[in-house]
Amino acid sequence: MSDNPVFDRIQTEIDESSVTLFMKGTPMFPQCGFSSSVVQALTMMGVKFKGVDVLADMEIRDGIKQFSDWPTIPQLYVKGEFVGGCDIIREMFETGELKKVFDENDIEYSEVQQ
């Protein structure tokens, strides 16, 4: 489908899960403060998500930056759409926009206690 084989692998990761977070480390053990803060937001909302550890896969680590045209990790995808990196997710979490994204995509979450 694409001329870059890594892009197909990334697409598969995104298609396999409604909410996919490309991050450094794992949701249990984030290896970077920026990844950790997005994991924290998703966890507080009680959203089920899949973490893809880019530190475990150099190809994906470089490929995802071109795939999304986004220079940094973490990167959050919801239903195949790139929603944002750490700053955007944090802002959307605080303003309640992240809830809206999950509502629009029929993704379950529990009420946020802030």
Partner: protein
Amino acid sequence: MAMDIEEIERLIKESLPDAEIRIEDLRGDGDHYSAYVASKAFEGLPRVKQHQMVYNALQGRMGNELHALALQTSVPEVT
């Protein structure tokens, strides 16, 4: 391989001449910044696009020489 505030500001201004820019060196190490960028060019665009425009202005430095730039973008309010 850090970048100084003037350089970041100059690059953003080159792409977004009307931008109001506020940059802070968060740790005083020339490597961890936060930037607030307001420009009319952002009007009607989703946040991802707005941030991409700033990253493009930095010409590939983001994530390389520029390790961390916490970014907040907005459209200036008309007064």
